[in-house]
C-alpha cells in the first residue's frame, strides 16, 4: 500500500477544491454527450438491423414453406392399376356376385384423397376376403363434388363403363390421384389412361364430349345429396353407413354381421 501511495502523483490538498477549467469541463461534457448519442444511435441501428433481419427471415421461411407445399403438376407417367381377378363377376359399376348377401356401396369422388386410400388400401382386401368368395358385392356411385376434374374423371369412368372397363378405369384413376384440379385428370390424361387400358378411343372421346355423360354424373351427385350424403367416401354395408371404414376390424365386423 505504501509503495502504491508513493507512486501516486503528488497533489496539493487544495487541488480538489480548486475551480475546474470551465472550457475543459464543457469539452468533457460535450464528449460524454456525443458518446451517449453515438451509443444510442448504435443501439437504434442494431434494433433496425434486428427488425430487418426478422422480416427477411420471415419472408424466407414463408417462401420455403410455400415452395415445399406448392401445387405440382402430375408427372407424365400414367400408372395402370392391377386388374381385378378374372373370377370376380362384374356388372357395370358393381363387382361381385349379384346374389351376394352383403351389398357394399361407396359414394366417392376421384379427387378425394380419403377415397383414394379406400381404393388403394381397403378395396383389395375387400376383394380377396369378401367379394371373391361371394360374400359381398361392391358398388361405386359417383359423388363428384371436388371441382371440375372430379366431374371430368367421373364422366370418363362412365365412358369406360360403356366399354365394360369401369373397374380397371376406376382403379387406374385412384392410382393416378394427385393435387386437386391441377391436371391429374385433364382430358389428355384421362385419354391416356383409356388408351393404356386398350379402350376404343373414338367411342371414349365421343362419350367424354357428350353432355349427356356430364349430366349423368351431375344426376348421380344430386341423387347422393338428396340421400343426405355430405362426405366421401360414404360407405354403406347393407344400407348402414360404416364411418370408420379405414379400421379393417370394424369394417370386417360390419360385413360379418350383415352376412349373418
Amino acid at each position: 500500500m505504501a509503495h502504491q501511495s508513493s507512486n501516486q502523483p503528488k497533489t496539493s490538498p487544495e487541488t480538489p477544491l480548486q475551480p475546474r477549467d470551465p472550457a475543459r469541463s464543457s469539452e468533457r461534457r460535450q464528449r460524454r454527450s456525443a458518446r451517449k448519442t453515438a451509443e444510442a444511435q448504435a443501439i437504434k441501428r442494431q434494433q433496425r438491423t434486428m427488425l430487418f433481419g426478422a422480416v427477411i427471415a420471415a419472408v424466407v421461411v414463408a417462401g420455403f414453406l410455400i415452395y415445399l407445399n406448392r401445387p405440382q403438376a402430375p408427372g407424365a407417367d400414367i400408372v395402370v392399376a392391377e386388374p381385378l381377378p378374372a373370377s370376380i363377376p362384374v356388372a357395370g359399376m358393381t363387382m361381385g356376385a349379384a346374389d351376394a348377401p352383403v351389398k357394399i356401396v361407396e359414394w366417392g369422388d376421384y379427387q378425394c384423397p380419403a377415397c383414394g386410400i379406400l381404393a388403394r388400401s381397403i378395396e383389395p382386401q375387400l376383394v380377396s376376403e369378401y367379394i371373391a368368395p361371394g360374400t359381398a358385392s361392391f358398388e361405386f356411385r359417383n359423388f363428384a363434388f371436388l371441382g371440375p376434374e372430379s366431374q371430368r374423371a367421373a364422366a370418363a369412368a362412365v365412358c369406360a363403363d360403356k366399354q365394360d372397363a369401369f373397374w380397371p378405369f376406376h382403379d387406374t384413376l385412384y392410382a393416378n390421384q394427385h393435387s386437386e384440379n391441377q391436371g391429374a385428370f385433364s382430358d389428355e390424361r384421362l385419354q391416356a389412361m383409356a388408351s393404356k387400358l386398350g379402350l376404343d378411343m373414338t367411342a371414349f372421346n365421343a362419350c367424354l364430349d357428350d353432355s349427356a355423360t356430364a349430366d349423368a354424373v351431375a344426376a348421380s351427385t344430386a341423387g347422393g345429396r338428396d340421400q343426405g350424403i355430405n362426405a366421401t367416401p360414404w360407405l354403406t354395408v347393407n344400407g348402414t353407413r360404416v364411418q370408420n371404414w379405414q379400421d379393417w376390424a370394424a369394417l370386417s365386423a360390419a360385413i360379418e354381421a350383415a352376412a349373418r
Partner: protein, 160 residues
C-alpha cells in the same frame, strides 16, 4: 401510461396466441382423428385430408400450433423479463409474419385448388393477421421506449 402500453399489448397478444393454440390444437386433432378420414362438403375434413395439409410427415396444423405456442411464450417471457422484451417481441413478430404469409397462401389453396373452405383454418388465418398487427404495435412501442412494469412510473428504473 405510455410506458405500460406495450405491456398491455403483449398481454393481449399472449391471450390471442392462447386462443390460437386452442384453434390449432383442434385442427391437429381433426388431422390425426382417423375416424374423420373423409372429404366433407365445406368442412375441415376435405382440407385436412388434402395433400396440402402436410409438409412431408408434418401436419400444417402442428406448424400453426408451434407458432401460437412460441408467440404466446415469447410475449409472456417478454413481460417477465422486460430487458429482453424487444428481441422476444421481434422473434414473435418474425414468426407471425411468416405464419401470416403462409396462412394467406393456404387460404388461397383452399379457394383456388382444394375448393373447400375450412372455417377453422380461415379463423386461424384471420387470427394470425390480428396477432401480426398487435405484435407490430408491440415492436413499434418497444422501439420508442423500453418496457416498464405497470406499477413503475415513467421515471422508474426500467423506464430510464
Amino acid at each position: 401510461m405510455t410506458a405500460t402500453a406495450p405491456g398491455r399489448l403483449m398481454r393481449a397478444a399472449a391471450v390471442l396466441a392462447g386462443l390460437g393454440v386452442l384453434l390449432a390444437a383442434y385442427l391437429t386433432w381433426v388431422h390425426f382423428n382417423t375416424g374423420s378420414l373423409v372429404c366433407g362438403l365445406g368442412d375441415c375434413h376435405t382440407v385436412q385430408a388434402s395433400e396440402y395439409a402436410t409438409i412431408g410427415p408434418l401436419p400444417v396444423a402442428v406448424l400453426g400450433l408451434g407458432m401460437y405456442v412460441l408467440v404466446c411464450a415469447a410475449n409472456l417471457a417478454g413481460l417477465a423479463q422486460p430487458a429482453r422484451a424487444l428481441p422476444l417481441a421481434m422473434l414473435a413478430f418474425g414468426m407471425l409474419l411468416a405464419g401470416t404469409l403462409y396462412a394467406a397462401y393456404l387460404t388461397w389453396l383452399e379457394v383456388a385448388v382444394i375448393r373447400a373452405i375450412c372455417q377453422w383454418c380461415v379463423a386461424s388465418a384471420l387470427l394470425s393477421v390480428v396477432l401480426l398487427a398487435l405484435q407490430s404495435s408491440v415492436v413499434w412501442k418497444l422501439l420508442q421506449g423500453p418496457l416498464s412494469e405497470p406499477e413503475e412510473t415513467s421515471d422508474g428504473p426500467l423506464a430510464s
